[in-house]
């Protein structure tokens, strides 16, 4: 058994590629659980961050600082009556949230959290991601139609038009990044997600800085298009609550509605992962080529532990600063326990980092490496998730025709131009 585990840990390829059904299944489960937990965390963070943007406190009642609020919400949504409108198309109404969810989660099969930390490394990874994530719109369109109601229908029409238009600009931006992968020594590009990150590693530069400002422009276009693609503010036309009450999911309630939310957040994480992989060096830590000494490796591998330590400290301060009133006692204890858990994780991570500091093939070193990869990847994705919240708190909503105009008349020409220039520069420069 240890040998079996070691055989995997020692592998340099993804389980899908190695043909290991067992490990692939484990990975799928880990990712499914991880994404679900991430969505729950995101739910809490979004509510808290949004609240603080808006000078409120946000959830404070369920658990210390509302930490248990997402669980309470989930419980509530699961127990809520599941209403299917009488005039709705029963089957399609039932299947629509599943389509969205399926599309959002399928994408994760090719997201590389590390060189071997992915379910599979598909040859056409990025194409697969774009294709599958574009299937998510089917769920929205179909749900709007099946509700047999005007507002959802308008929401569905809006979102289908919006997603189809922004996919074009998004695709062109992606292609310009893919073009850059071909500037290796071998002169062959790749569509594989892992290959793209490795290309950045070999070229020694994140693609966001490559051919400045071309890479940056492509990245910005992608960053805008991905907000439109996930129906988030300021492009949340499909569910604009002040215009269409709730857009495509107006008629949904309970668990079905929560599936839509789950799909939306999963899709947000997925597109952020694409952006990170394509332009921000994926799992790579900052300056892997510049600061490549083993000492630097060690210093950077301390970051996960330190991050958790910082979180633990914040939680601890929060517990200490709670009012000294008997009403808050249980909350204080809860927060302290939470802080202790975080601190324990921090300790564990630090121990692993120190134990695996030598770059050999020991279990600890392997673990340390894997943790590093996942940590840096997740950190970069988290920045994007924060941006999503920030956008939502700051900007008014675009109008539908303005959105389309920007998509077709601004983003598409710019991304085409960037693509052409990238190709030209790529041919001339080396």
């Amino acid at each position: 058994m240890p040998n079996f585990i070691m055989s995997y840990l020692g592998s340099t390829v993804t389980p899908g590629e190695a043909g290991s059904q067992f490990w692939a299944l484990i990975y799928v489960l880990i990712i499914f659980a991880g994404v679900s937990v991430a969505v729950i965390c995101m739910n809490w963070i979004e509510r808290k961050a949004l609240a603080h943007f808006q000078i409120r406190l946000g959830p404070m009642r369920v658990g210390p600082h509302g930490l248990l609020q997402p669980f309470a919400d989930a419980l509530k949504l699961m127990l809520k009556e599941d209403i299917i409108p009488a005039e709705a198309d029963q089957f399609v109404f039932w299947v629509a949230p599943l389509i969205g969810l399926l599309a959002a989660f399928t994408v994760y099969t090719v997201i590389p959290f590390g060189p071997s930390q992915a379910v599979s490394d598909m040859n056409i990874g990025i194409l697969f991601m774009l294709g599958v994530s574009s299937l998510g719109v089917l769920g929205i369109v179909v749900s709007g139609w099946a509700s047999n109601s005007h507002y959802p229908l308008i929401g569905a029409l809006r979102s289908s038009a919006q997603m189809v238009s922004y996919e074009v600009a998004m695709g062109l931006a992606v292609v310009s990044a893919v073009l850059m992968t071909s500037l290796n020594a071998s002169g062959t590009g790749t569509l594989s997600m892992i290959g793209i990150v490795q290309a950045q590693q070999q070229q020694g530069v994140w693609f966001i800085f490559k051919f400045f400002p071309l890479g940056f422009l492509a990245f910005v276009i992608f960053a805008i298009a991905m907000v439109a693609e996930t129906n988030r503010a300021p492009f949340d036309m499909a569910e604009a609550e002040s215009e269409l009450t709730a857009g495509y999911h107006t008629e949904y309630s309970g668990l079905r509605w929560s599936l839509f939310m789950l799909a939306e957040y999963a899709a947000m994480i997925a597109v952020s992962s694409i952006a990170v992989t394509l332009w921000l060096g994926g799992w790579m830590r900052p300056f892997p080529n510049l600061l490549h000494a083993p000492a630097w490796d060690f210093i950077f591998s301390l970051f996960p532990g330190l991050t958790f330590g910082g979180l633990a400290a914040i939680a601890m301060i929060g517990a200490a600063r709670m009012p000294a009133h008997s009403f808050f006692r249980i909350q204080r204890i809860g927060l302290a326990v939470f802080a202790a858990l975080l601190a324990f994780s921090a300790l564990l991570l630090l121990v692993i980092a120190i134990a695996g500091r030598s770059a050999d093939t020991s279990v600890a070193a392997r673990f340390r490496e894997g943790i590093d990869y996942v940590y840096w990847f997740v950190l970069k994705v988290a920045v994007f998730m924060y941006l999503f919240i920030w956008y939502r708190a700051t900007w008014p909503r675009y109008r539908f025709d303005q959105l389309m105009r920007i998509g077709w008349k601004v983003m598409l020409p710019i991304s085409l131009g960037v693509l052409l220039l990238t190709a030209i520069v790529g041919v001339i420069l080396p």
Partner: protein, 192 residues
């Protein structure tokens, strides 16, 4: 292709795909069944959903044929793009009326004949069975999964210093599509 990936690939090149017949029959059955649904469902949206399932199963079959690029394009273009537009249009059509109309018009004998002919073709290919490789021997080309995309690219655009076999046809096709797009825009737009 970067060396790291190449070395990675060499590890599993001997791996046989798992449970291939199972996947094949499941996907093929799904494709056929939902294909039947496409033409029998009176509700246009149901038919469209069935068509999406057909397209996805076919994409799965492409994957099994070591043609991931075609599979990806199938998903992104047909399932993702065209079907969304289909649904878009269907939603604007009066569903109540169309669901009352007869699903089959008088062209159905022709359709049946065409389907029968196609079936005979496939059957003959299957009957030849083990000789199937003989049928297209001159076209048979080893297409390992890893370089499939690259080979398509070199067919279309050519490799360094050599024009691709289909570059001209490819460009003509894209030009044709461009003309079609412009035509559609001009026909529907009152003023540009």
């Amino acid at each position: 292709m970067n060396p790291a990936l190449n070395s990675a690939l060499s590890i599993n090149s001997g791996m046989a795909p798992v449970a291939t017949p199972w996947f094949f029959y499941a996907l093929a059955g799904m494709a056929v069944l939902s294909g039947v649904f496409v033409i029998t469902r009176r509700n246009a949206v149901h038919a469209a959903l069935a068509l999406i399932i057909t397209l996805l199963s076919v994409a799965g079959l492409y994957l099994m044929l070591y043609a991931p690029f075609v599979a990806g394009v199938q998903i992104i273009v047909y399932a993702g793009g065209i079907m969304v537009l289909f649904l878009f249009v269907i939603m604007l059509v009066n569903i109540e009326r169309s669901s009352k109309e007869r699903a089959f018009n008088r062209m159905w004998p022709v359709g049946l004949a065409a389907a029968g002919a196609l079936m005979v073709l496939f059957a003959s290919a299957i009957v030849k069975g083990s000789h199937i490789n003989d049928m297209f021997r001159d076209r048979l080309m080893p297409l390992p999964e890893s370089t499939n995309t690259q080979q398509i690219a070199s067919l279309l655009y050519g490799e360094a210093g050599r024009m691709g076999q289909y570059t001209f046809a490819f460009e003509i096709a894209s030009l044709l599509l461009l003309v079609a797009i412009l035509g559609a825009v001009i026909m529907t737009k009152k003023k540009i």
